[in-house]
Amino acid sequence: MSISTGAVKAAPWNDPGARPYVQVERITKSFGDFKAVDDVSLKIYKGEIFCLLGASGCGKTTLLRMLGGFETPSSGRIFIDGEDMTGVPPYERPVNMMFQSYALFPHMNVEQNVAFGLKQDRVPKAEIAERVATMLDLVKLGSFAKRKPHQLSGGQKQRVALARSLVKRPKLLLLDEPLGALDKKLREHTQFELISLQDQLGVTFVVVTHDQEEAMTLASRIGVMNQGEIVQAGTPSEIYEFPSSKFVADFVGSVNIFEGKLIEDEPEYVRIASEELGGTIYVSHGISAAPEAAVWAAVRPEKVFMSTARPEGIDNVVRGAVQDIAYLGDLSIYLVKLSTGKVVRVTQPNTSRHAEAITWDQQVYLTWDPSSPVVVTR
């Protein structure tokens, strides 16, 4: 699922001495009583693809628009390459934005659209022609230069928009749902094109998306947003494997969450009793939580094993009946109903064409590795 990008090989975010390229300092944006963005701080490093991931209305677009200068923060400051951007209008920022609707100028052809920003900066004519041609070749639209936007397909429009925002060589490129309007196949293809383009040009990207798969594919790091706050920021695998809260675990990928109580809390392991599960969960690492506190154990569906024979041990084992099966080709999703009424989601890769089939209403045992559950306290 997670294909990390090669854009940032080292991990500057782990180096406390590294200088952030974009620094968001305690930014808040209120619309009346409503806080669209609530006290967000962020450090983004040069050459990163940073994805702001969240459901609609979580404030991700507002944050992006503040980076672009289209919204003024109610409080807080933004630095880009060391320069304070407070009060700097969009037309003076070293930043370009690719709009969700692409916002191509309908009265100009592809070439004029791409050249627009350069003309505005009074770049010499010969240089404009050269840079536009290079950029159009890069996005494979060289032969479409004279077409008007309404003569282009969705994917082509997307490339024109990308070329138009990259041709000015911005320090920072903001992309608002860059692939939202494309169909699935094209989207996957374009994701990788976007990564290789970013790799070639070395521009820092900030991408807003609601599609977690897109975020996983593109991002060097993801900032998961909820209700105006960044609830967790980290690499795709950190976000997926070590979510810091129920919300993140649930939002990124699918997950089974069992509420329970700590009954044994040792430095090397913990044991959780869960009524929802009807059993105990043994986790092979220590956690920091108050004793007797309510905790949640999150187990990813692909980390749950299903068998008809009872596995060894008493921890991490439950019994249930298969309620539903979704065959997706590469893998199958099983919904298993436990005796407590809780439904557990299990995915199994279809490694063999003639696998021994588990069918509806069959009694099965579920188990998982003690290292698999993630214990969160909120």
């Binding site: 672009g68 289209f70 209008p89 969009p90 037309y91 930043v95 370009n96 934005m97 709009f99 609707s101 916002a103 191509l104 100028f105 309908p106 009265h107 627009f116 920003g117 505005q120 900066d121 008007k148 309404h150 138009r164 925002s165 000015k168």
Partner: protein, 304 residues
């Protein structure tokens, strides 16, 4: 069902009827009157009722005399009055259109960019004057502009002036009247055009380095060209033939073709000459309308 099939046998279909109705309308209220006026313009003046000689005369003995008189048209070009009136009308209409555009554009823009709730109120305010007759509103302007009218009294009261200004029966008053009356015809098509505008285009332009006024000039203005054209035509075409406003507000030397037409028709009872003036006016306006139509057609075929 039986009736439809019977109708269809005569080639009458629902679709045909729907298409035929507007054609019938045009035939009755445009083509027929036009032919009548055209016919009168080629006839001789006569002291009779109606005051012109017939074009066709049955002489008996199987012969029909058709007498086409081109004198009326020739007369229009010999007496400079007509040509001057025509040129003046075009000038007045052109300046009025320009003024309407200059005043109407910011208004339409403001309405299009306002909140949807206020937008409806603003649109209503634009349309509201139509609820009173044009004549009444023009008379109201007389009350405002005359020597002891509202404007002069106010200015004297403020001490700005000591003698009343001559406002009424001047070209100024005429322009005020025309611009005031035709402004909604400029605002409404412009608004309809600007309302469809994708405002993120302006953000995109700013993002690419445009200051707001540059974004307006490079994006909004070219994209609203159609609206400007539609509004301008809706103002220009009727303004050329405008009669009431120059007659009431413009004073004696406001020489407009509509006024000349009126005088020829009612004062001089020279129906043939009046008809020739009308035909000439139409001949001048038709190219404008055709140009406008072709631009509209090209735009709608091109975009989207």
């Amino acid at each position: 069902m039986k009736t439809t099939s019977r109708l269809q046998r005569f080639g009458i279909t629902g679709r045909g009827l729907v298409v035929a109705l507007p054609y019938l309308w045009l035939l009755l209220f445009f083509v027929v009157p036009f032919v009548i006026v055209l016919k009168i313009s080629f006839s001789d003046i006569d002291l009779a009722i109606p005051p012109y000689k017939p074009l066709f005369e049955w002489l008996g003995k199987n012969s029909l005399a058709i007498k086409l008189n081109f004198d009326n048209y020739a007369f229009l070009f010999t007496d400079s009055l007509y040509l001057n009136a025509l040129l003046n009308s075009i000038k007045v209409a052109f300046i009025s259109t320009l003024l309407c555009l200059l005043i109407g554009y910011p208004m339409a823009y403001g309405i299009a960019r306002s909140k949807p709730s206020t937008r409806n109120i603003l649109l209503l305010l634009v349309i509201l004057p139509f609820w009173t007759s044009l004549l009444l509103r023009v008379y109201a302007w007389i009350g405002l502009l005359k020597a002891n009218g509202v404007i002069n009294n106010l200015l004297i009261w403020f001490g700005t002036i000591h003698e009343p200004l001559t406002l009424l029966y001047t070209p100024f008053a005429m322009y005020v009247g025309i611009v005031y009356s035709y402004l909604p015809f400029m605002i409404l098509p412009l608004y309809a055009n600007l309302e469809k505008m994708d405002w993120t285009l302006l953000e995109a332009a700013e993002d690419l380095g445009c200051r707001p006024y540059q974004a307006f000039y490079k994006i909004t203005l070219p994209l609203s060209r159609n609206g400007m054209l539609a509004g301008s035509m809706l103002v220009f075409i009727p303004a050329v033939g405008e009669f009431v406003i120059p007659a009431l507000l413009g004073g004696p030397n406001a020489l407009m073709i509509g006024r000349v037409l009126w005088d020829e028709f009612f004062s001089n009872r020279a129906w043939p000459v009046a008809s020739a003036v009308a035909i000439l006016l139409l001949a001048i306006l038709v190219p404008f309308m055709m140009w406008y139509q072709s631009v509209q057609a090209r735009e709608s075929a091109g975009a989207r």
